[in-house]
Amino acid sequence: MAFTLYSLIQTAILCTNAVAVLHEERFLGKIGWGVDQGVGGFGDDPGVKAQILNLVRSVRTVMRVPLIMVNSACIVLLLLFG
């Protein structure tokens, strides 16, 4: 399996896009991973599920605007260079 750096960038963009399109009410709420389940233990360490929810929510908040720009750039480049 020969990787290039370009395929790594592609993988990163695709994964970040996948995390960003998860809709909280429609999808995560249905499988019990909604907004209210994340905030839990303040004293002890939060569990794995709370950490994953935190991670998903922070990725969505932080990467929303940069993803728009990166996706537009990718679309333009792929249209031009195939």
Binding site: M1, T4, L5, S7, L8, D44, V48, Q51, I52
Partner: protein, 314 residues
């Protein structure tokens, strides 16, 4: 007058000389620079200017000396050189400022403070870790000791050199089998680099998800995942010298040694932090999950070694 500076080779795999622009500003006792035995560069720049003014009239024996002196008696060239060096200094300061916004250069310097004795001992431990007794990383008033003073400290010199040597060795192995072309070298390098990045990201993600409060920084993880290249080089060499049987024997040996090394090293860093932050309610799932991380990292090493070397030794 000889104005060139010869840097002494040190280290096991000094494949390239590292030019040091200036000795590091001594911020702590731990980082004294023992590598450059030559006079500091300030004297060099003075050495450029004085022969021009004093010895221009003398008859010159050496050809090289004559050309250097003629160049620097010309005041225009002098002014141009001073302007150029000030411009270069400005550029260097700007680059340093930009880089230090992303990663602290001091932390990086810690990982390259090695010497020959450390490198030899570390390579011995990587290949034969079964007799090493004490795996604890020693501290000196809250800061971890440099690799020069503590054999258990991770460093980035060995992984970097091993990575470069592995790429060169892969090129040579492919050349022996007449499958070489320059693009293959770049492909091999980027594949290995991508696997390192993937492994470090997965480790960081799993350490974050399980809220393991260890002091493993990103550079530590890069160092620990770069140690497998030493095993890879040994495996490929044995495969080239002794054929397919030698390859499998060396592969088995280096995988066992590397798994042992990784488990013992990471156990010290990941597992003991359990006792400090659990308040008596330590769930039994936690130590198991941390053990799983350590064992999974160890199991991942032989898989990657096999994946990245089997196509070199047919």
């Amino acid at each position: 007058m000889n104005v060139t500076m010869d840097l002494p080779h040190h280290g096991y795999r000094a494949t390239k000389q590292r030019a040091r622009a200036a000795p590091p500003s001594a911020d702590s006792v731990l980082f004294d620079d023992t590598s450059s035995a030559a006079p500091p560069p300030a004297m060099n720049s003075q050495g450029y200017y004085t022969p021009g003014y004093n010895m221009g009239a003398l008859s010159n024996d050496m050809q090289g000396g004559a050309e250097v002196n003629n160049l620097f008696t010309d005041p225009m060239a002098n002014a141009a050189m001073m302007y150029g060096s000030s411009l270069a200094n400005q550029g260097k300061d700007m680059v340093n400022k930009e880089i230090s916004r992303f990663m602290s250069v001091n932390k990086l310097k810690y990982f390259f403070a090695v010497d020959t004795r450390y490198v030899m001992k570390k390579l011995m431990i990587l290949m034969f870790p079964y007799t090493h007794q004490d795996w604890e990383v020693r501290y000196h008033r809250d800061t971890p000791l440099t690799p020069r003073q503590d054999v258990n400290a991770p460093d980035l010199y060995i992984p970097t050199m091993a990575f470069i040597t592995y790429i060169l060795l892969a090129g040579m192995a492919l050349g022996i089998q007449k499958r070489f072309s320059p693009e293959v070298l770049g492909l091999c390098a980027s594949t290995a680099l991508v696997w390192i990045i993937i492994e470090v990201l997965v480790m960081l993600l799993s350490l974050y998800l399980l809220t393991v409060h260890s002091d493993l920084s990103t550079f530590d993880l890069i160092a620990y995942s770069g140690y497998k290249y030493v095993g890879m080089i040994f495996t490929v060499l044995c495969g080239l010298l002794f054929g397919s049987d030698g390859y499998f024997v060396a592969f088995a040996w280096s995988s066992c040694a590397l798994m042992f090394f990784i488990v013992r090293s990471l156990k010290m860093k990941i597992l003991p932090s359990l006792s400090s932050d659990s308040m008596g309610m330590g769930s039994s799932a936690k130590p198991q999950l941390r053990l799983y991380i350590t064992v999974a990292t160890a199991i991942f090493q032989p898989i990657i070694i096999y994946w990245l070397t089997s196509h070199l030794v047919r």
